[in-house]
């Protein structure tokens, strides 16, 4: 100190910290919960952070634990063609123990009822799975399968659908079989895998001897291997890459499967994190505002302590402890709830996971979530505290004197830090800076936009309530504008959650509505495939007899690509910018003379017929694939059509709407070349009712057991089920933001309580009845709920419309019911929160409050 001091001050830093802590404790003694309540808004945000991160940890552990079981083998090779001599020779060179498997689609039907369903038939020969077990009932059903030539192992969903039990009869294709057991789980496969075509395991002997697998059926062959200690499977694949590509084999090793899995669920986790983070952000803003209200109320105390000579740092510390306590209280409560929620996620997503999640406490995720949430909350709580530096001790002498410090940008640096933290978090989750910047910008824009809309609505409300309106309504409106009100914040918070929920719901409804529309009207809803050429006419006659018409029939010839634009496919595969699947796949192409009206040529000209001895065949290619490959009109390709090379030239490009349920193709050939190639047919039918559909399916399965039928209404149900489950998880997180908004409302009502009590009691003294005050209160929350609901629902509808129109290109099919219901619920919840928190002081006698005025 630069001036002579009296040396009365004997405090050490430790003593001063102790004093501020004592003061903070004394301060919270009267209202121990007040500062803890301030921390409530971040609870759910932190809970979601902890839950998602813990879930990810658990998933990683499960993947680690079941690492080898993920594939059931060290290496799996697969191809969509019958192995030839070259491939067989290559497979025999592969070290270790091997097993082979064939997978194809077929119809399962029940002889008694004639009911049927498309299934995926699988047959395995050899010791697969080498790691893990096929979980079946009875336990040894899978191992017994080779000794039970008539036995079929069925996925549980099939038994439930048809009411089947072990030992009962069923038919696959034209084979009479018996249920040998139930398949619960196959190593490394998610439960939801067989939702469209459930899995049925048969013995290889049965499949090979029965003719179930006819020529032209699309089958997938898989060879799995258990490697000896040396070589390493991944190294072996790298060393043999060129031969694998040349044989057009697809490979999968445990490492690849794991990486794919981690990537997929990493993405899901990041997405959930980003949605949950919105709740945290909102909560942190809420804590900041609650702290602001509370520190504002402490200005008098601050001024007095300064007057008595308290150091600024000591005075500030007394409030800092309370902020730390509320932040920590919120973070710890959030952590505890997050641990609870962690149990819910595997339950919701379990069917999509190929591993069994064992939920356990993930200390790093828990500590990380709590720590991050706490730090983030603190950054939002600090600016009001820093603003107290400007409080002058003169405020003690003059009640009207205000050293107005709010809005000083110098106290806003923690908010800048918080934005940096948001960006850092997004970057960490998304791993790329540009989308992270977009997320951060998007979230700031969304909050700013909502706040703006809320302000516009508030402004309009103030204008809309005329001076002649009943006094109660004028008073209710005025309550929303009381000094230092948090109305914009509450409207923004509840509005953001509501907007998210409405948006998600409407986009889902529109998407499902569109699929429904595509299977409704005169659109086809049954697809028949694997039709042999000689079955086509009898099938047409059968359909006629049953009163159905084959709407669109297309021949299908399978082929593989050898070279494109003058370069072999192997060379193309070395490029990273071209999707591998698009070159390695088995193309199912059609040929026709006349294009249908749905085939829209966007470039070049369609050639409908060529002579069989034409050297280079003019074909039409789908535009999207042409763009992926970077090829265009005049480029050539060589196809291997079941052993015969065929050179083609792209002479036209077509726009294909893949969402339409009709036979769509990448390549369309002209008539005159492929007629001699082995082919099968695909046709689609429209069935008006479920009964019609079932009747036709029964008839076709009975007469043509080898023809496969895909019931699109079943596909639709499946898609709806998947979409519902996924959106439920997202909506669940979005719901957090709504609840956070309501918690915020509670906390704001709590912090404004003193002010409200003074107003209420003053009105009581002036002669207002309790009924009138109750009406004012109700009016205030009706207005607040209406504003919040209208803001949220309005923005949700607007965003859903924009996404539907410009991003997903979908017509509007969602009903107005949900947005209206959402509006009603928000209004009701706001009203309820207001009544619960606001009416308890009405019945208190007014005098004590007024007597304390000014003290």
């Amino acid at each position: 100190m630069s001036f002579p001091s009296t040396n009365k001050d004997r405090t050490s830093l430790g003593q001063r910290i102790g004093w501020s802590l004592r003061m903070a404790l004394r301060d919270t003694r009267a209202h121990p919960l007040r500062f803890l309540v301030a921390g409530l808004p971040v609870v759910l945000g932190i809970a979601s952070l902890v839950a998602v991160e813990s879930f990810r940890d658990n998933l990683e552990e499960a993947v680690e634990r079941e690492s080898r079981q993920l594939l059931g083998a060290d290496l799996v090779l697969s191809a969509r063609r019958v192995p030839d001599a070259e491939l067989t020779a290559f497979l025999e060179e592969i070290p270790g123990e091997g097993a082979r498997e064939v997978q194809f689609s077929s119809m399962l039907s029940i002889p008694d009822t004639g009911e049927s369903r498309l299934v995926q038939v699988r047959a395995i020969e050899g010791g697969f799975p080498f790691y893990g077990e096929m979980e079946t009932i009875p336990e040894n059903a899978f191992k017994e399968l080779p000794h039970n030539p008539q036995g079929a192992l069925l996925e549980e969903s099939l038994l439930l659908q048809f009411g089947l039990e072990t030992g009962e009869a069923l038919r696959i294709g034209d084979q009479e079989l018996q249920v040998a057991g139930i398949l619960r789980r196959a190593p490394g496969e998610a439960g939801a895998l067989g939702m469209i075509a459930p899995r049925v395991y048969l013995s290889m002997e049965l499949v090979e001897s029965s003719g179930l697998l006819t020529t032209g059926s699309v089958a997938r062959y898989r060879w799995s291997f258990r490697f000896p200690a040396d070589p390493d499977p991944d190294e072996w694949v790298t060393a043999n890459r060129s031969r694998i590509d040349q044989l057009q084999l697809e490979t999968e090793t445990v490492t690849e499967r794991r990486e794919g899995l981690e990537e997929t669920f990493g993405l899901l986790g990041s997405f959930l994190h980003l949605v949950g983070f919105a709740a945290l952000l909102l909560g942190a803003v809420g804590v900041g505002s609650a702290v602001r209200v509370q520190t504002e109320a402490k200005r008098d105390q601050m001024a007095l302590l300064r007057c008595l000579g308290t150091r600024y740092s000591d005075a500030r510390r007394t409030i800092l402890w309370q902020i730390l306590a509320s932040g920590l209280g919120g973070a710890l409560t959030g952590g505890a709830i997050g641990v609870g929620l962690q149990y819910l996620l595997p339950f919701l997503l379990g069917d999509f996971l190929p591993v069994r999640i064992e939920v356990s406490l993930a200390p790093a995720a828990l500590a990380g979530g709590i720590g991050f949430g706490f730090l983030f909350t603190l950054l939002f709580a600090l600016p009001p505290l820093l603003g107290l530096r400007e409080v002058s001790p003169l405020e003690t002498l003059r009640s009207g004197f205000s050293s107005n410090s709010r809005g000083d940008w110098r106290h806003r640096w923690p908010l800048g830090l918080a934005v940096g933290l948001v960006l850092g978090f997004a970057w960490w989750q998304i791993k790329e800076i540009l989308p992270a910047l977009l997320y951060t910008g998007g979230i700031l824009f969304a909050v700013a936009f909502l706040a703006l809309v809320a302000r516009i609505f508030l402004f309009a409300l103030r204008r809309a309530v005329p001076s002649r309106a009943p006094w109660v309504w004028r008073q209710a409106t005025a309550s929303l504008f009381r000094p230092r009100n948090q109305t914009t914040l509450v409207v923004t918070a509840i509005g953001l959650g509501t907007a998210l929920l409405v948006l998600l719901f409407l986009v889902r409804e529109n998407a499902l509505g569109q699929i429904q529309a595509e299977t409704g009207g005169d659109q086809a809803n049954l697809a028949f495939f694997d039709i042999q050429p000689d079955q086509l006419e009898p099938l047409r006659e059968l359909a006629d007899r049953e009163g159905f018409a084959l709407l669109e029939t297309a021949p299908i010839v399978t082929m593989r690509m050898r070279s494109l634009a003058g370069r072999p496919v192997n060379e193309w595969l070395e490029r990273d910018d071209v999707p591998r699947w698009s070159l390695q796949r088995e193309f199912r192409s059609t040929f026709r003379e006349e294009l249908t009206e749905k085939d829209e040529i966007v470039a070049g000209e369609w050639v409908g017929r060529v002579s069989p001895d034409e050297g280079i065949i003019p074909v039409s290619l789908e535009k999207g694939l042409a763009e992926d490959w970077g090829v265009g009109l005049g480029d050539r390709a060589v196809f291997d059509v079941q052993g015969v090379p065929l050179e083609v030239e792209i002479t036209s490009l077509r726009e294909v709407d893949w969402r339409e349920m009709r036979p769509n193709f990448f390549f369309i050939f002209p008539a005159g070349v492929l007629e001699a190639a082995p082919r099968f047919y695909l046709t689609v039918v429209r069935a008006e009712t479920t009964e019609d559909s079932a009747r036709l399916q029964r008839a076709v399965t009975r007469e043509f057991p080898t023809i496969s039928i895909l019931d699109l209404s079943l596909v639709l149900d499946t898609i709806r089920d998947i979409v519902n489950r996924v959106t439920f998880v997202i909506q669940f997180m979005a719901f957090f933001t709504v609840v956070t908004g309501l918690v915020l409302l509670f906390s704001v009502i709590g912090t404004e309580r003193q002010q409200r009590m003074r107003e209420t009691h003053l009105l009581r003294v002036l002669g207002a009845s309790r009924g009138t005050i109750r009406k004012i209160l109700l009016g205030e929350y009706v207005l607040l709920g209406t504003l919040s609901g209208a803001t949220g629902v309005g923005i949700g509808i607007g965003a859903a419309y924009a996404i539907g129109r410009w991003v997903l290109d979908m017509p509007w099919t969602a009903s107005a019911f949900f947005p209206l219901a959402a509006f009603g619920i928000v209004l009701l919840l706001t009203l309820l929160a207001g009544i619960l928190a606001g009416t308890k002081d009405i019945n208190k006698p007014p005098l004590p409050t007024l007597r304390n005025e000014g003290r």
Binding site: D9, R26, D27, Q301, L308, G309, T310, P393, S399
Partner: protein, 226 residues
């Protein structure tokens, strides 16, 4: 108090102006005063005469635009708020018209605050003794809301003396109290002033109360009335 006592507080030609729109409002104009240890000075004048502004300047709550103030041998002019706070902590006591007790602290805790700020281990004992002296020995653990106005002001008096200040600043200490209670508080103030050898600056409207001080300073429109 004797005429040999050292000067504890001195204001020389102090002025304070506030901007009012484009004009400058002079609240205090070249006011001087001095106060010796143990002396009492009443500052009287009508509302808006600059009494409270003068008190604020003398206590270092604000700084003058012109002139100089020295308090306990330290020139306040040019000192930072934090340095002035140290001087207040060590040498000043305050009593306000509206008491200004911390509502969440008991009477004893309120009275002990200035002693605690100085790190005195006996702060609570001193506060307890002072509360006994002001007649609140049985109210130590009561919160301000459980005390009457007069009792609250007595707690404030105890708080003002707990750090053994050299100057006691009292801003309308009886302004919020009825006549009888006001007189009790005034008796208390003057008694403690003389027994503790603490100088007292008393701002008041009340001429009768002012007359009990050693000296009276009349202010009108920011200037001293001779």
């Amino acid at each position: 108090m004797t005429t040999n006592s050292p000067t504890i507080l001195e204001a020389r030609e102090v002025s304070r102006h506030y901007p009012q729109g484009r004009r400058r409002l002079t609240v205090l104009n070249k006011v001087s005063l001095s106060l010796r240890a143990g002396e009492s000075l009443a500052v009287v004048g009508p509302s808006g005469s600059g009494k409270t502004t003068l008190l604020g300047l003398c206590a270092g709550l604000d700084l003058p635009d012109e002139g100089e103030i020295s308090f306990g041998g330290n020139v306040l002019t040019g000192r930072s708020e934090e340095e002035r706070a140290t001087i207040r902590r060590e040498q000043a006591g305050f009593i306000f018209q509206s008491f200004h007790l911390l509502p969440t602290l008991t009477a004893l805790e309120n009275a002990a605050v200035p002693g605690e700020l100085l790190g005195w281990p006996d702060a609570r004992d001193r506060a307890g003794k002072l509360l006994q002296e002001v007649g609140l020995g049985d109210r130590l653990n009561h919160y301000p809301s459980q005390l009457s106005g007069g009792e609250q002001q007595r707690v404030a008096v105890a708080r003002a003396l707990v750090n053994k200040p050299s100057v006691l600043f009292a801003d309308e200490p009886t302004g919020n109290l009825d006549t009888k209670t006001g007189e009790t508080i005034a008796d208390l103030l003057f008694a403690l002033n003389s027994s503790a050898d603490t100088a007292l600056i008393l701002i008041t409207h009340d001429e009768k109360l002012a007359a009990r001080a050693d000296r009276v300073l009349y202010l009108r429109n920011g200037e001293v009335q001779k």
